[in-house]
Structures are given as structure tokens and as C-alpha cells.
């Protein structure tokens, strides 16, 4: 590949940084007061309620489960919704547990086990739903935190019309800010990390909300109550 960098690149970079450095205004850095973020705190049980309320307000659907029952809950939903297949990550923790409990018949489990190029068209046209885990949730506004990667590819939560996400109540943080701190995302991040609060939506036509414009039309959260 021919590198598009030319002399213009270094010239532009040097010139821009030079101009920025030449500007005065160096002084003591103002110290941010984060009290407004710190006072957003709730007990664990309330965090679960808040997250659910926030996400339901933007059309997310919830299924209640326990650490023991969640694979059956996912299965019952898929069969009930008449899903032909469910895309999952065969090497992820949640994916392995799901596959182990999946009985034959009804909705077929479909592993995302090859590069997208090998089945891009099928992914866009022939997959009914995608199943992913989460690395946490956000109570204040409602929201799921995902770290797509080799075990759970990025497009699983985006391309299929239904996204089913597994969330453990114990991983729900107060705010996005406190989640970033707790997960160490301020220091290092994987190639992709994500917050999702609901199914894809738009209000671009006369401010009227419409769901499922590009991404999933439905977001189903399987909320595992592991607080006890």
C-alpha cells in the first residue's frame, strides 16, 4: 500500500503544533470539582431498579433470571419469539454456558467463529438475533457496557434485528463515570468498547421516535439477580 503521508503531513503537523505552542495562556490548570458526579450513588438493589427504568423508557425489554435459570430464560424467549437462529460467541464465558444448556430443536445456535468476510451477506440477511454478555451496567441513565473482541465480535450487538444481552445485577455501576473508573477504562481500552442504552432509534423525521433504524429493532436484557 502506498502511504498517503507526504511532506504536507509533517509540514502541517509542525505548523499546527507550532502555532498552538506559540499562543500564551499557560497558567495553573483549573482543578475539576467532581462532587456532582460523586453524589450520584445508590444501593445495589436500587441501581438495578434505576437501570431498568432508564432503559425501559427507551424501549429496552427485560427478562428476569437467576444465575441458574438464565440459559433457560434465553431459550424460552427465542422459541417464543420464533427466532430461526441465534448468533453467539462460542468462546465467551456466557456463550459457553448458553451452548452447554442448549437442547436441540427450535431456535438454532449459530457460532460467530470465523472472520466476518466469510459470511457478511448471511450476517446481514439471515441472522435473527445476536447474544452477548456485558461487562457492566450504568444505573443513573440506564445502559449496558460491552467490550466486543475476539470472543464476542463487534457486529453481534449491531447487525441482527434482535440483540439479547446478559447482565449481572452485581456489575451495575452508579454512573458511566464511576464505571469508567472501576473498569480502569481511563488507563487502557480494548480496540472497541461500547455503551448501549436501547434499541437503535431516530427522531429525524419530524421529531417522531422510530425504533430500529439501522441497528437492532429490539434489545432484550436478561437481568440476572445475583445480589443475594
Amino acid at each position: 500500500m502506498s502511504e498517503p503521508r507526504t511532506d504536507t503531513h509533517t509540514d502541517a503537523r509542525t505548523a499546527i503544533l507550532g502555532r498552538l505552542r506559540a499562543a500564551d495562556g499557560a497558567g495553573p490548570l483549573p482543578v475539576p470539582d467532581t462532587a456532582v458526579l460523586e453524589r450520584r450513588q445508590w444501593p445495589a438493589a436500587e441501581r438495578m431498579v434505576r437501570l431498568r427504568k432508564g432503559m425501559e423508557a427507551v424501549h429496552t425489554e427485560f427478562l428476569e433470571a437467576t444465575p441458574a435459570t438464565w440459559p433457560a430464560v434465553v431459550r424460552a424467549f427465542c422459541d417464543g419469539a420464533g427466532l430461526k437462529n441465534l448468533l453467539y460467541g462460542p468462546t465467551s464465558e456466557a456463550g459457553k454456558a448458553l451452548a452447554a444448556a442448549w437442547a436441540p430443536g427450535g431456535t438454532q445456535l449459530m457460532p460467530y467463529d470465523r472472520p466476518v468476510e466469510a459470511f457478511k451477506h448471511e450476517l446481514f440477511t439471515g441472522v435473527d438475533a445476536g447474544f452477548t454478555g456485558t461487562v457492566g451496567g450504568v444505573a443513573e441513565t440506564g445502559g449496558l457496557l460491552l467490550m466486543p473482541g475476539p470472543d464476542e465480535p463487534r457486529l453481534m450487538s449491531l447487525v441482527p434485528p434482535v440483540h439479547i444481552a446478559l447482565l449481572k445485577a452485581s456489575t451495575i455501576h452508579d454512573t458511566f463515570w464511576s464505571a469508567v473508573k472501576a473498569l480502569g477504562w481511563g488507563r487502557s481500552l480494548p480496540p472497541n468498547a461500547l455503551l448501549i442504552s436501547g434499541p437503535s432509534k431516530t427522531a429525524d423525521i419530524e421529531q417522531t421516535l422510530a425504533y430500529g433504524v439501522h441497528g437492532p429493532k429490539r434489545l432484550i436484557v436478561v437481568l440476572v439477580d445475583d445480589l443475594a
Binding site: 499546527i16 505552542r21 490548570l29 475476539p150 480496540p191 448501549i196 442504552s197 417522531t208
Partner: protein, 477 residues
Amino acid sequence: MHAEHEVLFRDSAAKALLDPQLRANFRRAMDGLITKRRNQFPDPRDLQDLRDLSTTIRSRSLLGLPELLEQFEVNCTKNGIKVHWAETCEQANELILSILRAKNAKTLVKGKSMVSEEMHLNAFLEANGIEALESDLGEYIIQLDGETPSHIIMPAIHKNKDQIARQFSQKIKDAKYTEDVDELTAMARRVLRQKFLDADAGLSGVNFAVAETGTLCLVENEGNGRMSTHVPPLHIAVMGLEKVVATLEDVAPLYAILTRSATGQAVSTYFNMITGPRGEGEKDGPQEVHLVILDNGRSRIYADPQLRATLRCIRCGACMNHCPVYTRVGGHAYEAVYPGPIGKILTPQMEGVGVRHDLIHGSSLCGACGEVCPVEIPIPEILVRLRREATHDDEGSNVAGRGTGRTATEDWAWRLWAGVLKRPALYRLAAWFATRFGKALPAGAPLIKNWTRSRTKPVPARRSLSERMRAEGGKHV
């Protein structure tokens, strides 16, 4: 002197005011947005604290901007993101073209990016044989009609459902006429999904750039941003150089205040953090990610301690939603990439205060914009400052086009005024004439016409104040 081919806000605003459909579309939309924003901030103390925090974070990021940009570049490069710098829009366009050509890319699917609008990237790429398709629903709607965005967050806000229904039925293949919003949305979904699947490359803007981790943050509701950045094999991001902050912890409060200020949402559907191309063992994501950092006048704005506040902007659009002028004339009347109050201070600083002189004056200085700005940009104060810059070439100023908004007529009028005021006898004579014969001056006379076009002609008192004072035995007059 005023530049030739000057675009007059005054004229386009007057035209827009006569369009009842446009005014109704904007009024309804802005009222809705104002209410939704207000509902997101029930506690005034929380709002003020969050504004203060966001302002501090943005100011602090700007203070250390050159260092943050360098750190950001180092970390992006480490993550496999190729970083490019452009001083001008032309350079940025050329860079993007060469990146696309190197990959032999013919089709580009775009997530919403105001910087790409600033660059007029679509027209440039089309001229070079590359299809650039907008995928944000609002951007898609206006691209079908060859229009530009009328709002930075909701680009198609000037159109109503009927207009879009007609447009879709005429321009989308096999589309039937419907005014059902869900069906219209489904039509766009069908067309655009195929485009995402086929596109050779995707382009996006950047809402926040994180120096510590080399991360690009994208805020969106539709998922078209994720589609554009994750599905095609090549992702190109463009950003203004002011977007960088130190850490993701800094981003959290900015993100919180952005969605609430912009659309009255507590949180957007997606907050996408991109820290590199497809990694080791990953099965999807682009093989290459490029980032173009654009200056286009920003480093010049940065050099001025007062005007630098302009660069704190996080592009929420709250200033336009609350602006009495914007609400009445809509976004297109500004004939600028960035409309509304933020556009009124940004556009003249980028294009020159002389060229867009009347944009700076097209404000009642009511202060609503400054009051709702989540990062407390003193837009009214900056407007006043730019009004001076437009007519003065002050020492130490580096404002683009400073002094070029001065006109001979205005100059002459002020000189005359000063001359009269400096000479008491002449002043008394002029006052005598004005009080006795001012009434007889026709409303259509030159200069007076500028005032009387939209106001009634003032009738001077029969005797001036000093005359009356003198008559009543007052001293020192």
C-alpha cells in the same frame, strides 16, 4: 471594504421569515427540544455544577492542547490508528482521497460529521469519482434533495413528514407513498443496510478524542455510526483539533451534559469507543483506521485568550434550540456550515469577520445562548468583540479579516458625528436644525432608510434638552 459576493444574512433571513411552513417546522421542533432539555435538569444546582465541571474540563484540555494532541497521536499510533494532520480543508480532502485511492475504494458510507460538512467532502469526492453516501437518517434525507444541514444535531429539522414522504416516494426505488414514520424509516433502513454491506470504506466524525488511551468516542442513536466504523474494511475519522481531552474520565461528564443539552436525552443509544482497528484474533472491525486532524483556522482562534472559549464547544446545538433568531429563520438562512449562535461566532472567525459582517450583527444579544451553553461559552460577549474586530485593525489582534468590515459611509458618518460633537457651536446649530426640520426628512432618505426599513421614523422633540435647560435657567449647559 466589504468583500465582493458577500452573503447577506439580512436578506436570507428576511426571505425565510416569509415561509410559514418553515417557521412552523422550526417552532414546533425547537419548543420540543427546549422542553426535553429542561426536563433533564430538574435540579438547578446539579445543572450548574455539571456546567462548571464541563467548562473546567474543556478549558483545561485547551490549556494543554499541544501536549494532549501529541500524546493522543502517540497513543493512536501505538494502537494502530494512522494519524494525519491538515491545515486546511483542501489538504484534508486530498488526504482522504489518497487514503481511499490507496485501498482502491469507490464507495464511502458516512456517519454524521460536521467537520466533513466544513470540508465539503461529499462534493469533493463525487468530483473525484467516489460515491459518498450519508447514512444518518437526517443527513440521508437532505442528501437526497442536495441540501445542507439546517441544524448541527438534527440536519433535516426544516422538513416535515409530508415533504419527506413525497421525497422518498419520488427518489427511492420501488418506494410507495406513505406518511407513516415507521414505514419511512424502514425504507431508509432497507436502502442503507445494503450500502453498509457493500461499502469499501466508512467515514465518521469524532465527538471526543482521548489522549491517555488514543480513543475516538462517537455519540449516536441510530447505529449508523457503528455501521460506518465497524462494517467496511477501512474507517476514516475526521476531527477538529480542539476535540481532545486527557482521559475517558474527563469525557464522562461531557457526554452526560452533551446528550441532555442536545436532544434532552439522559444518554444516547450508543456511545462507541474506538481504540484501534481489528485487533489480534478479532473477527470483525475495519482492517485500517485513519484519523485526519483538521485545523482550518482553529489554531488562530486558539491564539486569542478571549476567543479561545469558542473552541470549548462540544456541538450540542442547545444555543440554536434556544435562539429567538434561529427559531424564526431556521438554519439555512445563515448560509454557513454552522448555523445559530455558535455559528455566528465560529463562521466569521473561520471565514473572516469582514466577509460575514452582518452575521455578527444578526443577534439581539438576548443572552439565551450563553445561558444554556453547557460549557459556558460567552457567545454574546464574543459577538460584541467580533463586531469591534470587523471594523478595527487593533494592535495584537489576529482575527481573520479584522478591519475589513468597515465601510466608507459608516466611516464618514462617524467622522461627521465626532466633528460636530467636538464643536459646541456647530453642535447647537445641528441640534437646532434637527429639532426644527428633522420631522421633514423623508423616511426613505439614504442612511435613514436603513433604520426605517423595519421601524417607524423617530420624531425629534421640538426643542433639545439643553435648550430647555437653558430656558429654565439651568447651569453648565
